[in-house]
């Protein structure tokens, strides 16, 4: 009896499993089970153009590593500003935009090839922009000047909003009477008016330079009035406004948001009658772009020279972009090798450990690009001895970046000297040289000692180079400054090895090199948030740290060269100038930069500014890292060489083709 019962038990269990398995086999007629397999026309190789693609296409599958938090594009620029949300949100549209793969500024909604110049307008300054008449929202309606006016008025209604909005759409405010003549935070856009349906006039309460027009307001988002007006009218506060579910909101891009399953996936659908579908783009080595619109009108932005680096016909070729969440990079790479996804979207690219796995798969392509960013060593110049230029130079001189990048870090880092990476070719200054560049270790040591002596530093035991051991022996001891003040023990904060082994390793070498000179530096690997907390502290707390290593991710327009170092941006007052660097000559250049009207003028000022920073060394730029990405050979891209990799263009969904 018992054995019979046991058999029945097993049968019952098997039956349940069988039923579950049967349930897993969904019938083809079930809703949501239709997988589009029709492929888009192929032949959009980088050096060819093709006929306009049809609306039918394949599913472009991308892996993401964190859950996007909102479908609301306004919130994505403000309170819910994170890279994952911005990858999947198609955005809205802007007057001007950056052209892949070179980041050249080109017209988007605007008609003028070059951004119009700002002109004096009574007590104010204004710019009048004509809109293209062929740009359409994804619902088929044309973009008009009223959409730009509405966007500005909404930002005004919510008092400027937060996050990225104040830098994209800075609002003009009343000057603080106490600081009226120097209060730059009151500078901004005074009004936006629709001159007619296709012409918009933007008025500033100050004379803006390139950093504001066109590189802020020109690339700022513009939202469709018809869709957003009812939501704005019904919301008294930004909080209420952001609470709206806005899947499918109209935008001027090739995709609209279609579906979101929190914690699992996000799906965007191709716009069936995308206004730019079939447009042809040819991008030259120098960043110039030849553009032929879908209607056949041709424009050239810049003076083409050098080789064609990318050429394609705009899609979208994919009927949808499906973003699947994998919270672990290992499983995402397995998904890539198994063909579950075509591309991994990750701002940091692939871990080096996974690179081999990807390289060994013949179905995968690996691309390596430079990151638009750098890691750096910063000195707290508010304190002795970091306030002595020769002291900073001596430490910088001892740092052999090539040795670190190539030998110690095994190629995981690329030695860097400039505040603008070489990949940002227009703005990069190739003449910025690291102090002591090209010297041997002995020469570096001797030059560093010489610099310290020049500044009046002395030792109780002076360090010396031991030619027999090819090392510093003895190490310096009892280092005293020019005023007889003994150099105290200094702390070098750096992210721990768990967070970033490259910076942690670098900090240990800097500690050793400084100790050789008799500078009592102690590397302290710690949490990223601990460092951020300390170095961005305001008031007297800004005096508490000595040196640190962190990094910056950058934007194509390199205004950071000035924003990081001007006196009025001192982090003790809430700005980004963490070293507390103050140099009137540099501040004057920064002021000129803010007023610069041409790219050439701005570039010249950037180059001059960089030269000063390379000499004064509030920062020592250490290295940048390559970004390694992989994609399946089932898809192909019109370009693969671009600063920050394909992830910077969200995986190029509007031009990726099925191969």
């Amino acid at each position: 009896m018992r054995h019979r019962l046991a058999r029945w038990r097993w049968l019952a269990i098997l039956a349940v499993f069988a039923m579950v398995a049967a349930a897993c086999q969904t019938e083809p007629t079930e809703p949501g089970d239709t997988t589009t397999t029709t492929e888009a026309p192929t032949g959009t190789e980088p050096t060819e153009t093709t006929a306009p693609p049809t609306a039918e296409g394949f599913t472009y599958r991308l892996a993401i590593f964190s859950d996007p938090t909102t479908t609301h594009p306004w919130a994505a620029l403000d309170t819910e500003n994170d890279v994952w949300t911005n990858y999947v949100n198609p955005g809205s549209g802007s007057l001007y935009g950056y052209q892949p793969p070179t980041y050249t500024l080109v017209p988007a909604m605007a008609a003028d090839d070059e951004p119009p110049e700002v002109v004096a307008d009574g007590d104010n300054w204004s710019v009048t922009v004509t809109l293209r008449d062929d740009v359409r929202w994804s619902d088929g309606t044309p973009v008009t000047a009223n959409d730009v006016v509405f966007t500005f008025e909404t930002i005004q209604k919510y008092d400027g909003l937060g996050g990225n909005f104040p830098s994209l759409w800075p609002l003009a405010r009343e000057d603080d009477p106490a600081t009226a003549d120097v209060d730059e935070s009151s500078d901004g856009v005074l009004s936006v008016e629709a001159v007619d349906d296709m012409t918009v006039k933007i008025t500033f309460n100050f004379e803006p330079g390139l950093a504001i027009w066109p590189f802020s307001v020109g690339v700022a988002p513009v939202f469709q009035e018809a869709y957003w007006r009812p939501l704005v009218d019904a919301s008294d506060s930004a909080e209420t406004f952001y609470g709206n579910e806005t899947l499918g909101y109209p935008n001027t891009g090739a995709f609209v948001t279609a579906e979101r399953e929190p914690g699992a996936f996000w799906r965007n659908e191709a716009v069936a009658d995308y206004w730019d579908r079939g447009a042809q783009y040819t991008v030259y080595e120098n960043g110039a772009v030849e553009y032929t619109s879908a209607s056949g009108t041709s424009e050239t932005y810049g003076e083409p020279s050098g080789e064609v680096i990318a050429q394609w016909t705009e899609g979208p070729y994919a009927s949808e972009a499906l973003y699947t969440l994998y919270t672990d990079q290992n499983s995402a790479v397995l998904a890539l090798t198994d063909g579950e996804v075509d591309f991994l979207l990750n701002p940091l690219g692939l871990q080096r450990g996974l690179q081999q796995l990807v390289l060994s798969d013949p179905d995968l392509n690996v691309i390596v690009n430079e990151q638009n960013g750098f890691r750096y060593l910063a000195f707290n110049m508010r304190k002795f001895p970091m306030n002595v230029k020769e002291f900073r130079q001596a430490i910088a001189c001892r740092i052999d970046k090539e040795f670190m990048a190539d030998t110690v870090l095994g190629g995981a880092a690329i030695a860097a000297n400039s505040l603008v990476p070489p990949g940002n070719s227009f703005w990069h200054n190739p003449d910025v040289e690291a102090i002591c560049s090209g010297l041997s270790e002995q020469e570096r040591f001797e030059r560093a000692v010489e610099l310290l002596k020049q500044a009046g530093f002395t030792w109780t035991t002076e360090p010396a180079w031991d030619p027999d051991n090819l090392d510093v022996l003895p190490q310096g001891e009892g280092l005293t400054g020019p005023d007889g003040e003994e150099v105290p023990e200094l702390t070098l904060l750096a992210p721990g090895p768990g967070y970033d082994p490259l910076r942690a390793t670098y900090s240990l070498f800097i500690e050793e090199w400084a100790n050789d000179l008799g500078i009592p530096v102690r590397a302290e690997p710690t949490g990223f948030s601990v460092i951020v907390d300390e170095v961005f502290a305001t008031g007297d707390a800004a005096l508490e740290w000595d040196m640190y290593i962190l990094g910056w991710g950058l934007t194509p327009f390199p205004d950071h060269v000035f924003d990081f170092f001007t006196t009025d941006a001192d982090s003790a007052e809430g700005g980004f100038n963490t070293p507390g660097y103050s140099n009137p000559e540099f501040d004057a250049l920064a002021a000129q930069f803010k007023q610069a009207k041409t790219l050439e003028e701005a570039r010249d000022l950037i180059f001059q500014g960089e030269a000063i920073i390379a000499e004064d060394l509030p920062y020592v730029v250490l290295f940048t890292t390559p970004i390694i990405e992989a994609y399946r050979n089932t898809v192909s891209y019109p370009f693969t060489t671009t600063l920050d990799g394909l992830q910077a263009w969200s995986g190029v969904p509007s031009a990726v083709t099925s191969s």
Partner: protein
Amino acid sequence: MTRYVARRLVQMAFLFLVFLTATWFLLYALPGDIVAQKYATNPNIPPEARRLAMERLGLDKPMLVQFRDYMVNFFTLDFGYSFNQYPRPVVDIIKERLPRTIVLFLTAVITYYWAGFAAGKYLAWRRGKRGEMAITVGGVALYTVFYPWFALIMLWLFASQLKLLPLGKFLDPDKWRNAPYPANDVFLRMFWLTLITSVVVFGIHLLARRIKDRTPRRLVAWAGTVAAVVAFLGYWWVGREGAVMRPYAADIAYHLILPVLTLTLVNFAGIMLLTRTSMLETMREDFILTARAKGLPEHMVRDRHAARTALLPVTTSLVLAVATVIDGGIITETVFSWPGMGEVLVSSVTLGDIPLAIASFSFIGVMALVGHFLVDLLYGILDPRIRVTAHG
């Protein structure tokens, strides 16, 4: 008994208050507030935007004012907004994550407790045999394996190489395209239906025990169980909503197999050893000798007499495990791409999202306190000696 319960409830309330206060101050003391972490390192976000963010989140107020406001709001059941996903209420985030976590970890806990108990019972009975050695060595090896590595190996083997099971995630996006229900609705439906069915089956078995004759007792128990299971399956096949939801529920169930299998393989050995030890102690008791002397079959002595008594520590351990199931597990959730409460806890703490972290910890704290309270009561019910002592 009533006085005991009342005293325990007062103690729990006080302990919860201490827990909440300590959690708030510990989180507040963490370096780096969320505004600094999100905004200070982004040069596109100007200082005025950072100041606005501080004001919005109330972080510009003195610490004690923030604490007072939080406690007042908390006890009026306003858990506030998430700092990281502002202006989303933290309750919304917990509601989104909790069903996934409960379904995965409750299934896993029940499975590995069942497997551990069954294996422990077998080991104690087959002491000294080859089987004992094999299961003990295997179980302990799995128990001590480096879990993240093992989980990845399981993924690689079953999903990537054998292609028997899905590669992480809790659903297949292709099957869920334009699904008529959000995944959470399906998770909740699965949870409640399974719970109701289990309670019904448990009730039927309790009722059946009152029948003295063996054959009708078994018949009632099995017929009742089959009826409950048929009703459960009938809902999914015949019910109007159930039939539509079924493919989605099945997809979730399919995605559940690998993480549950992995958790079971790693965790069952702990329960197995606990059961084994408890069984070995029980088997030395006089009543086991008496049962054998009465000539009862071995399986009856093992299952009815020894195993039931040995169940006591396992049951208390199970109640505590169930009570803490809602905190999920960050490694499991990460490797199997199953974002749940574990991920919420870790990210909210590392980002300094204090309202979300405290609300999550509070849920866990309440469940743990209730769990301990239930264990105390269960001891009294399951072990007559404790009840006698309580009455003094």
